[in-house]
Amino acid sequence: MKTLSELQIAASLDPIQLEPVSRLDLIKYAGASGDYNPIHTIDEAASEAGLSGIIAHGMWTMGNLSKLFSPFLEEGFVQDYTIRFARMVYLNDVITLKANLVEKAGEVFTFKVAAENQDGKVVISGVIKFKLY
């Protein structure tokens, strides 16, 4: 496997396309995270909140996105991870995770990261600073 330290500016990590978002994904995340806000799991609660359907936890998408970096944990770790939540993620959305290297400063590699939906719209975006050992 390619090492992260070999990457050049403007290079991308291999993107990951997730399976369509399912209710079970969100029930599992609710259980694992302790976030039981019903707008993420129960149709009636979502519609009472004025939503067209249940939406993914923003933190579910953010949690997914950092797995682009898990293969490189022998080389370094996620030192900084900043995300802005831009759009809602609905059931059956197909999310693609992306990371692009924008800066190398000594041991710290800065990536622009984003998750996009099937329409190419950014749902979350931000920065990961990966610190090499």
Partner: protein, 149 residues
Amino acid sequence: MYKHMIGKSSNKVLNTIERGAVKKFAESIGDLHPIYSDRDYAKNSRYKNNIAPPTFPRVLDFGVIEGLILPKSGLIHGEQRYHYERPLLVGEDIYCYAKVVDSFEKAGANGTMYFLAIDNNGEDLQGNIIFTSTIVMIITEEVRKGMGI
């Protein structure tokens, strides 16, 4: 609307980075790397231990900030930031606390938007910071009215 709360903290709460919780959390975000749950893999890794994914602190107990009243529904998660000195190790005990760090308002098309920033931090038992994190929440005018404040 929360300016009077800036600087207020919770008490520190002792948390354990529980093996089962980390495994379940990693599975829930589809991050199946063995460093999070496979003991043998971990022994031979640089960490000599399983570690937790970067967003795992979502699971931890950061205590209660006295007097902080949040809406029961309609709270919008605007931004989330983490900073790590090192990854969290499975099995370790850490102290966690929350602190109100900012409160400001912006005029929006549908009325005022109220922003609230809370830090959720974790320290080792000697008081050294392991991670800091900030959650930025947005409360719309409509949601504020619903709170009756």
